[in-house]
Symmetry: C2
């Protein structure tokens, strides 16, 4: 046994999500989060750069998964097919985390600062994917455009997945969105 309770980060993240859900993001102070986790405010900031970041612990995992899937697509796959492989992987990741995803989405959706943070995480993901596509030989601006278009599919698909009641899987919804994107762009 250590001198302190283990899983400090998770305890902070759990306390934060609870408090943000119960009383709202703005009405929660970092000191309260720390106190619920049995820690001090200073320790919170040793684990998370700021009050928003505590909701985005999974970003790195998602990025790694996405990038691996895109990089691992067959060499013969088109850019958009590689992107689709990434979307499938992301869909699988969230498959059994829907309740958590919904609660987290509700908190983020209710606050502009948190939406900003969410957007920059997706933009960072897009940048990483564009780089991976370039590694696959895709030229600019095709790489960035493919990544950004894929993020659009992810965003719209994710919101629909959260909004409905489990009728369709996230992967299925993203496939539909990708198909619809092909329709509206009415490509080559």
């Amino acid at each position: 046994m250590g001198r302190w309770e283990p899983n400090t980060r998770q305890r902070l993240a759990k306390a934060a999500l609870e408090l943000y859900s119960e009383r709202g993001y703005e009405q929660t102070t970092v000191a309260e989060i720390a106190r619920r986790a049995g820690l001090t405010e200073r320790t919170f900031f040793r684990h998370y750069a700021d009050k928003r970041e505590v909701l985005f612990d999974g970003s790195e995992e998602l990025r790694a998964l996405f990038v691996t899937a895109v990089a691992g697509a067959p060499g013969s796959a088109t850019p958009i097919d590689a992107m689709a492989a990434g979307l499938e992987a992301a869909g699988d990741l969230f498959h059994d985390r829907r309740p958590f995803a919904r609660q987290r989405y509700a908190v983020i959706d209710a606050n502009a600062e948190l939406r900003e943070r969410e957007l920059i995480k997706l933009a960072s993901l897009s940048t990483a994917i564009a780089e991976t596509l370039r590694d696959r030989g895709v030229e600019e601006p095709a790489a960035s455009l493919t990544a950004e278009a894929g993020m659009a599919v992810f965003k719209v698909g994710f919101e629909r997945w959260i909004a409905e009641n489990g009728e369709r899987t996230l992967s299925a919804l993203m496939r539909e969105c990708l198909s619809e994107l092909r329709n509206v762009t009415g490509g080559a």
Copy 2:
């Protein structure tokens, strides 16, 4: 003549852009911006909600222009063609503001908080355009996907316009990006 110097907002915006350029966003305090504009910190916050917002005075103008162009596209235009009309209008808006756009972009690009704010402004623009497309009879998720894809074209085109040395117009670059997007999505 009023009791105070006129154009308070513009003076604050000018002072802020100057100081953010000279010393960086983080190294500038709101009190310094206010002082350079001949005002107090409290007055700054009466005109701008926060330290970031002072760089985004033009967002509303861009949104109005964009939405008007999309709404005004011929009824026979496809969603993506209506979107293209909005991109053209935006391209025209920036045409004679390139030096200002570059300076502002450099400031925003150098700071994560400012990039976050930029992203939420573009997301808000996307939402407004999606609504306009729905008013034109476009169903979901096609409306949101078209708007998001259009934003991707705007983003990538804009960055290239800032990066190069005036060889091509913003409108021309966005047309190229839109064409490239059609290629990569390899649509219907």
